[in-house]
Each structure stands twice: as structure tokens, then as C-alpha cells.
């Protein structure tokens, strides 16, 4: 691919000839400009590269947004579980001694499901206990987009853009668990754990923005732009503070399930995309795979060289449940989350893409996405005419 910010081999040869004739000057620049081939509607500006430094569920927790109260901490929740499976108060007290490290509790929690009178693993069979009716968010604000084009009474308002009719049922389902709550710039604790623990080994995600034009004062001109989001072949590198290191180089993985390209417009330094489908392979510790439909992306291109924004759309809810069910009792007793409760909440609040039974398979959602400067190198097929001299399509943010 040829970008205006780089030279093709042909252009490079011409440049060498021009230099040798001491006639570079304006003529050379004019010749160079004439050879630049725009590849998209957004190629008028430069290309900037980033590595994603943070991506997870967007929380905007406010006092009073859970009028029924927050969901209980693990000790209360586990007492309820033990009571519901028939333990007497004395037995519950005995079992809770040393909680959460009493080994006798775990098998009871794990196998609390009942099917035809038989004990079953609750995480594999979350519908094998009645809906525990976890508390959900009733607040006014949540990050996201108006995905269905309607403004309904219980829709949210985005606190950043003030857009009404915001659809973010994922936050509604999860937002009353302690570990999902945060007011930016704070990060909700469990998503922070998921992202942080997988970051060292999970292949990094990278972003390229084509079509960025800066004014003399550093502000970004309005105009068309294209954003690519890919998975890289290697993980992020941490700096001495434990945060991702900027200005590192990443090769784009050619796996077709992690290629995303979307056009949009930049206005006041914020890129807003058209609708697209966001596909990304993640780590099973978090969410095995994202497949966000009808997605929208807004990214603020900041003067410090970073980007931050919101990705929203409809994500199949079952993989989201799996991210809670997989750690099972470890999450329940340590993070105070009720796995089958989350299963029921996601299933009830799913709001798009119904299956043949009418059950919605996807849930509206919003994720925070942040990026820091990086070199992003995309795989390039060798050119027949210039394979030996072709440089990778590297992009450097400045």
C-alpha cells in the first residue's frame, strides 16, 4: 500500500535521479506529489499509529444509579447460596468459618445447580438454578451510542457527547456489581484485572488513523479519515511504571478475524465512524472473541499523541457470560460476582439479533478504548517490480 507519507520504490528511484541532476527543488516535489496515489477517501493527511493500552467495559457509575442497592459482597452472597441449597443456619455458619479460604465451600458453590434432582456445575449450566435477580442499573448516564435510532424512556444519555437514546444494556446488567463500578478516569476493578493480566501475553491490538491533518497549532483539521484496528503478532511492552511503552513497533497479524477498517469523519479532533462490524480475537481469560455488530467508534485524537474513545455496538452476550463463568467460584468468592445472576441479566437485557425463538442473542454495549503512539507495520505482498526494495508499510506517529 502506498501512503502519502511514504515513498514507493518507483518514487524513490525518481527521487534519486532528480537528486543526481541537482534539480530537486520544486520540480522534484511536484513530481513526487503527482505520483502519490490516494487509497481511500481519507488519504489527504498523514497516518498515525497506536497500540491499544486499555480496552474494556465503559463504566460511568453515579450515586443512586442502583436504587435497589449494589449487589452484595461475596460473604453475603455465599450465605444466600448455601441457604438456597438447603443448608441450615448453623451449617452455614460452620461452612463460613475462614471464608473465603474454607475449601469445603467451593464444591458446594460449584455444584449448586440442579437438573432432575442431580447436582450439576452451575457455571456450565447457569439456568439450573432460579434467577437470583441481581440488581441492575437504573441511572441516567452511560457511555455509548444510540444504536437503534430511537430515544426510549429508559435509554441512557452519553455523559461525554450528551447524545440521547444511548443503548448500553451491558452496563445496565453489570453496573451494580462493586467490581464493575467506576467513575472515569478510575477504571472498574475486574475489567482492569482482566485486561492487565492478559496484556503481557495477549497479542497487542493496534490502531491506524489515515487522513489526519494537523493545523499549525497542533489541532486537528476536520475531514474524512479511515481507522484500522488489528491484532498484532506480539504483546505490548511495559515500561518501568508497568504501563504500555509507547513508540514500539508492532507487526499486524494477517488473521482475517482481527481486521477492521472503517471510514468516518474527524470533527473538532474527534473521529466518528460509520457503522461497521468489529471483529477481534481476545484471550479467554477476558472475552474469547468480540463480534460487535452495528458498531460505532469515536476517537479523540489528543495533542499528547494518544487517542481515547468509545466503541459501541451489539455484542453476542454468551461470550460475555463465559468471561464470568470460566473463573467460576474463584470470581464469585473473590470478586463478589454472581455468575448465574449475570447469565440471567445478560439474557434478559439482550436487545438485538433475536434467534428463531425470539431470544435476543446480542446486547448493546460500550467499551473504552485508549491508545498510545506506536509504529504499526502491516503485512505487504511482495511487488513483482520492486520486491527487493519494498519497505514494509510502516507508520510512525509523531
Amino acid at each position: 500500500m502506498l501512503k502519502q507519507t511514504s515513498l514507493s520504490v518507483g518514487q524513490a528511484r525518481i527521487m534519486r535521479r532528480l537528486r543526481s541532476k541537482a534539480a530537486l527543488g520544486c520540480m522534484g516535489l511536484a513530481a513526487l506529489a503527482s505520483f502519490a496515489v490516494p487509497l481511500s477517501s481519507a488519504s489527504a493527511g498523514e497516518t498515525r499509529g497506536y497500540v491499544v493500552s486499555w480496552f474494556h467495559r465503559a463504566s460511568y457509575s453515579q450515586d443512586g444509579d442502583c436504587p435497589a442497592g449494589l449487589n452484595p459482597n461475596a460473604d453475603v452472597m455465599v450465605r444466600n447460596i448455601l441457604k438456597n441449597i438447603g443448608k441450615t443456619p448453623d451449617e452455614v455458619d460452620a461452612l463460613m468459618v475462614g471464608f473465603p479460604n474454607n475449601p469445603g465451600i467451593r464444591p458446594l458453590i460449584v455444584n449448586r445447580g440442579r437438573i432432575n434432582g442431580q447436582q450439576v456445575n452451575i457455571y456450565q449450566n447457569p439456568a439450573s438454578e432460579p434467577d437470583p435477580m441481581v440488581h441492575t442499573v437504573k441511572g441516567h448516564f452511560a457511555y455509548g451510542f444510540n444504536l437503534d435510532g430511537k430515544v426510549k424512556a429508559d435509554d441512557f444519555v452519553d455523559p461525554e457527547t450528551n447524545e440521547a437514546g444511548v443503548d448500553n444494556q451491558l452496563y445496565r446488567a453489570l453496573g451494580c456489581f462493586h467490581t464493575e463500578r467506576a467513575m472515569p478516569p478510575e477504571r472498574p476493578s475486574y475489567p482492569a484485572i482482566q485486561w492487565d493480566m492478559t496484556r503481557d501475553q495477549m497479542p497487542a491490538w493496534v490502531i491506524r488513523i489515515d487522513g489526519v491533518e494537523a493545523n499549525a497549532d497542533g489541532s486537528i483539521k476536520d475531514g474524512d479519515a479511515t481507522v484500522d484496528i488489528h491484532r498484532a503478532t506480539g504483546p505490548v511492552i511495559r515500561n518501568v511504571s508497568g504501563e504500555p511503552q509507547s513508540d514500539m513497533t508492532f507487526n499486524v497479524d494477517s488473521d482475517l478475524r482481527s481486521q477492521n477498517t472503517v471510514n468516518g469523519k474527524i470533527h473538532n479532533g474527534v473521529f466518528t465512524s460509520e457503522r461497521f462490524v468489529f471483529n477481534m480475537v481476545d484471550d479467554p481469560f477476558a472475552v474469547p472473541e468480540y463480534h460487535i455488530m452495528d458498531a460505532k467508534l469515536r476517537l479523540t485524537i489528543k495533542r499528547d499523541g494518544t487517542v481515547t474513545g468509545i466503541l459501541g455496538g451489539y455484542q453476542p452476550w454468551m461470550p460475555l457470560y463465559v468471561s464470568y463463568g470460566l473463573p467460576g467460584s474463584t470470581n464469585e468468592v473473590n470478586l463478589s460476582v454472581d455468575a448465574p445472576g449475570i447469565y440471567y441479566a445478560l439474557k434478559k437485557m439482550a436487545d438485538a439479533y433475536p434467534d428463531k425463538t425470539g431470544q435476543n442473542t446480542a446486547i448493546s454495549c460500550a467499551f473504552v478504548i485508549e491508545g498510545i503512539p506506536a509504529f504499526v507495520v502491516k503485512p505487504q505482498e511482495p511487488s513483482k517490480t520492486a520486491s527487493a526494495e519494498s519497505a514494509p508499510d510502516a507508520v510512525r506517529v509523531h
Binding site: T233, P288, E289, Y321, G328
Partner: protein, 427 residues
């Protein structure tokens, strides 16, 4: 002799001398490492077993146990030796042999290297390693069990020890190098060493593929090092003292950066990895390098081999990082062939073994419903993916099927946990 004749004679003489020098200096291409002895004969496998107490490991994110490689039977059950046996003779019979089952050898099994076939009193054939008959323990149920270790103080796990009888200089070890599929001589950093087929006395090396550049670096000795065993010292003209193994100077390869790398294999015909033991590989199976995943197992056509693994809670993530997640052999054996049955096998093609194939090394066999046998690597049945078009493709990697029971009538298959996914197999 005229001037012209003298000139011709002189040129000829120079050519002869130069040619002689050329032929003297040319290193001999190194033979493939296939001449390294096989770690196990057919019918004997090995497995990694955790031993010892949990310890703090510097640099590790959590406590870990030491792992050793132990020999095992064809199903992966740990093998043991018995102190009361005498070389080549089993003394465990009758009731003892019901608790400690002799590790059976096939009727046509033959002695090879340290492995010998002994005939028991009842006429049955049994494998012995270094003269010690091998057994499995009845209370070991799954791969990795080692309940019989140190039983009665006389039963011991049969641990792979490729350095037995081998003198090793300080700073040189032998360890498993995954991408070489074998036990390899390594430096103090765990990086594999390579044998050079030529003479380095002059301080120069010649690569068959062109200028060597800086990619091959001599393994230097300490100033006070002495030759030992098969390790000798080359005093080079440039002042460097370089280790040699069995007469071949030793080098590291600059392209090896991670533990387990063996990227110098095949990089130049004049160099060969210093392998002590090689692991069994089924016919045609090879290791291909992949920029994302490191070494990957592939079939004879170069198509990537996959395993279907259970999505598991891994607190450090990393299943899709370079080198990948090798899974847990016990989980692989539990899943067996249930991970891909019926129509699944039209998309994911089982790696079928020959009728007379036998397990060995990390490779075992699983019986298919149609009577054929399928290769399994480190406990996991392996397949090719029809979506991979060319050698090196890994299109099937990270393909998930969630296995949550979304209703209250049927119990989810416990073998599949919360779901299964396809992963490439790393050596």
C-alpha cells in the same frame, strides 16, 4: 621455457595451491541431527510430571513446581524402576506385578541404545532402561500421576536423564529445546548450541549460504577451562578459545532469542544443532516456524496441526501468545476424540496413523470409532483444518465453540468445560 610457458605454469601453480587451500578450508556440510539417538523406542512415551513443593521462581508471576520428564507407557502412565531388580532381570512377579505392571514391549521389539527388551519368567517381554526393568503403578490414573514415586523407598520414577555419563563443562548444559524436538546442548542462558563442520583454527568460519556475518558466535571457554569428555578446546589464531563437541566447534545463533528457539536449524548447511537425543515424530510430521506462534507442528504437506482444547481459566492469559498454550495432557486425554466427531471431521481432518503405528515420545494414539488410529500429541488428538490453504496458514487458530447449557433440561458435557477452542500445536 618461454615467458608464455612460464606464465602458464605460474598461474597453474597458483591455481593448484589455491584450490588445495580451498578444499582444505571448506567445511563439511553437517549431517542432519537424525543421527542423534532417539529418546524412546516405539511403545514408550514420556510425559512432564510436576515434582517437589511449590517454590518461588524468580521472574515468574506465581509459584511453580519443578517439572521433570519421565518415561511412560503408551497411554502416558508414569514408568518406575525397582531397586530390588538386578540388571536385565525383574524380581517383581505375582502379586507385585498386579500393583506394578511390567511396561510391556511388543513381540518384535528390539534393543536400541540404552533400551533393552527383557524376557520375564512368564515369557512376556518387558522394556528396561539402562538395564532396569520398567513398570507402571496401579494407583496412577491419569497422565502426570506419580503416586508410586519413592513407594517403600524402592520404587522410583524413571526420569529422562540425557546427561548420564556425560561430562559437561561449566556453563554448558543439556535441556529440552522445544523447536528442535529433542535434548540439546545449550549455553548458560539456555540457548541451543550448534556444531560447525569446519576448522576454526584460523578464526574464520565459512557459511554455505553466503557471508556468515555476525549470526554465528563462537562459544568461548573460560581462561582456566580444561577439556573434558567429548568437549575439547580449539585455540584459535585470533586468541579465542572455543569449545568443540566431538571435534566440532560450537556456536550460538543470533536468531535465537527466546527459550525453546532453534532458529539456526536449517539456516546454513555447515551448522547443525548440537542434539544429544531426538524425540520421536510420526512419519511426515515436521516443525515449521511461524512468525506469530514460533515453531508449529505440521503434517507432511506443511499444513498446520491443531488440537481442540478446553477453554480454561488461565490467570495469566497467553494462550494465543508466541509459543502458544500447550495445554494439559490430562485434559487432552479427557476430551479424547469427543472434541470433534461426525461432521466436524469433514472440516477438521484427523491425522490418521498407519495400522502398525506405535506411540513414542510425546506422541500417543487414540482409537477412532471407525477402527483407525489417530495421532495425539501431548495428550491431544491432532487435526488439519480445511480452511488452511497453504503451508504455514493458521486460519483455524482460536476458533471457539462455547459449551454452556442454555436451558434447564440437559446437562452440559463436563469434558468440554465452558467450551472448546482450536489451537495450533507447538512442539
Amino acid at each position: 621455457m618461454g615467458l608464455k610457458s612460464a606464465l602458464i605454469a605460474g598461474v597453474a601453480a597458483v591455481a593448484i595451491v589455491a584450490g588445495g587451500v580451498y578444499f582444505i578450508k571448506q567445511p563439511k556440510p553437517m549431517a542432519p541431527h537424525l543421527d542423534a539417538r532417539l529418546s524412546t523406542p516405539l511403545g514408550v512415551t514420556f510425559q512432564k510430571v510436576k515434582i517437589g513443593t511449590v517454590t518461588m521462581v524468580p521472574g515468574a508471576s506465581s509459584d511453580q513446581q519443578e517439572q521433570v520428564i519421565v518415561y511412560a507407557d503408551g497411554k502416558g502412565k508414569t514408568a518406575y524402576t525397582y531397586d530390588k531388580d538386578t540388571p536385565g532381570k525383574s524380581t517383581c512377579a505375582a502379586e507385585c506385578a498386579t500393583t506394578w505392571a511390567p511396561l510391556a514391549a511388543s513381540a518384535d521389539a528390539k534393543n536400541v541404545d540404552e533400551w533393552s527388551v527383557i524376557t520375564r519368567d512368564d515369557g512376556a517381554k518387558q522394556w528396561a532402561f539402562e538395564g532396569k526393568p520398567l513398570y507402571t503403578f496401579a494407583k496412577d490414573k491419569v497422565i502426570g500421576d506419580n503416586k508410586g514415586d519413592n513407594a517403600d523407598g524402592v520404587w522410583h520414577m524413571a526420569t529422562m536423564s540425557p546427561t548420564d555419563g556425560m561430562a559437561l563443562p561449566y556453563g554448558i548444559e543439556v535441556r529440552e529445546v522445544a523447536e528442535a524436538a529433542g535434548q540439546v546442548i545449550v549455553n548458560a542462558h539456555g540457548m541451543p548450541l550448534y556444531l560447525y563442520g569446519g576448522d576454526v583454527k584460523s578464526g574464520k568460519v565459512q557459511c554455505a549460504s553466503g557471508p556468515c556475518g555476525m549470526q554465528w558466535r563462537p562459544v568461548t571457554t573460560g581462561q582456566l577451562s580444561n577439556p573434558m569428555g567429548d568437549f575439547t578446546i580449539v585455540n584459535r589464531d585470533d586468541g579465542i578459545q572455543q569449545w568443540a563437541y566431538k571435534g566440532n566447534p560450537l556456536f550460538t545463533f543470533s536468531g535465537d532469542s527466546d527459550l525453546g528457539d532453534a532458529n539456526g536449524q536449517g539456516a546454513d548447511k555447515n551448522f547443525q544443532i548440537a542434539m544429544v537425543e531426538r524425540y520421536f515424530m510420526p512419519p511426515g510430521v515436521k516443525i515449521l516456524l511461524n512468525e506469530r506462534k514460533g515453531g508449529l507442528l505440521a503434517n507432511a504437506d506443511g499444513k498446520t496441526l491443531y488440537a481442540r482444547d478446553r477453554i480454561s481459566f488461565n490467570g495469566t492469559g497467553g494462550h494465543s501468545a508466541r509459543g502458544g498454550d500447550r495445554g494439559n495432557p490430562m485434559v487432552g486425554m479427557t476430551i479424547g476424540l469427543s472434541g470433534c466427531e461426525g461432521d466436524c471431521t469433514k472440516t477438521w481432518i484427523p491425522l490418521i496413523a498407519a495400522k502398525d503405528a506405535q506411540p513414542s515420545g510425546y506422541w500417543m494414539l487414540m482409537d477412532r470409532p471407525d477402527g483407525t488410529k489417530q495421532w495425539a500429541y501431548q495428550g491431544y488428538a491432532v487435526y488439519n483444518y480445511t480452511g488452511d490453504r497453504k503451508p504455514g496458514d493458521t486460519v483455524g487458530q482460536d476458533t471457539y465453540t462455547l459449551a454452556v447449557n442454555d436451558g434447564a433440561e440437559k446437562v452440559a458435557d463436563a469434558r468440554h468445560g465452558m467450551g472448546l477452542y482450536w489451537r495450533t500445536t507447538s512442539p
